[in-house]
Assembly symmetry: C2
Homo-oligomer: 210 residues x 2
């Protein structure tokens, strides 16, 4: 009964081939500029075939985003493993998040800068998967902040609120670095300076009375 296994393996191979082609185009040209037809062309299958493997274009790309953001989670896990100064650890985590966004701009934009319809029946299976990863990422931040509070290096009232505030801040930094870094009409300071100053400001704002 090795037939079924081989079939399943072949099916999985094509699925991965679609994902690879889509991922490459996606990184090169961004979500909006990649059509299902283009992906089909590149792997030399018909567009209809893609719909045998993915419900629609959105699901295809959210699969890719999920894969990518799993990488961020792994990176944060790794960082959390390294015992060390809590404050330095927090800072490294925040940097990892920003660097990750800049390294995967299209995934980041699709995941965090695109309207999603949360209303009614719209379940969005894959986006829930992503959200799971997102939540785990958020938990990392929350734990890191908590460690800093316990070590007395930071001080704040509500952990949940503070975590959300910090997240929105680094999200702002990340998304603007992705979107506007090439804007010649605005006198942007160098990215490195913007990032470091941002982290400085956040940590200063959370530091105990000086």
């Amino acid at each position: 009964m090795g037939v079924a296994e081989r079939r399943a393996r072949e099916k999985e191979e094509l699925r991965q081939k679609i994902l690879d082609a889509a991922g490459q185009l996606f990184v090169e040209e961004g979500f909006a500029n990649v059509s299902v037809r283009k992906i089909a062309d590149r792997i030399e299958y018909s567009p209809a075939t893609i719909y045998l493997y993915f419900k629609d274009k959105t699901e295809l790309f959210s699969s890719l985003c999920w894969e990518t953001f799993s990488g961020l989670k792994a990176e944060l896990d790794r960082l959390e493993g390294e015992a060390g100064d809590p404050l330095a650890g927090l800072r490294r985590g925040l940097r990892a998040y920003i660097d990750f966004g800049i390294a995967h701009p299209n995934h980041y934009l699709l995941t965090f800068c695109t309207p999603v319809d949360h209303s009614a029946g719209k379940v969005m299976d894959n986006f829930q998967e992503i959200n799971r990863v997102g939540l785990e990422t958020f938990d990392h931040l929350q734990r890191a902040l908590d460690r800093c509070r316990q070590s007395g290096q930071l001080a704040f009232e509500d952990l949940n609120t503070t975590s959300q505030v910090v997240w929105t801040f680094i999200h702002g930094t990340t998304s603007l670095l992705i979107l506007n870094s090439g804007d010649p009409h605005f006198p942007w300071v160098p990215p490195e300076q913007l990032i470091e100053s941002s982290l400085d400001l956040i940590l200063r704002g959370l530091s105990p009375a000086r």
Copy 2:
């Protein structure tokens, strides 16, 4: 020779009619879900006519964004006019920005959360107009921060860098409030709390040694 004037007036009226219809649809359904044909339907003209008044769909909507963001500039001008405590003024300005984004979510997303091709020949006349308004908004922030430094209520090194950092932060707050406020999968704190805590953190991070 009042003919030419009347003609020009009529032309301007239709232009405004297009903008009104587009603006309404735009607010109701978001950029991606509004087609040129839908706008044409609503004003009972052919789609082709719209292209006699606007170069393309992008230009149409960036005109709307420009109009809208002029409103923000006016609001900030008004606030700057009211003499008063610099720190309180800064805080009011930041709040005005966030409130404005939440009040005009689609305009905000299109202006600040959509990739723009800054490369080569892409001049984007209208986006330059928007950018002018954006720059003026940024100047407001910069001046407000400078006043706080001069009054001794805040302390920081580089004004330009600090202004950009603060802007990216409130942009993060604004954009996430717009995009994810309805997400049932994430335990968001109430918007009001997120906003106020964000402002607290920023101002605390910039306050002189305590």
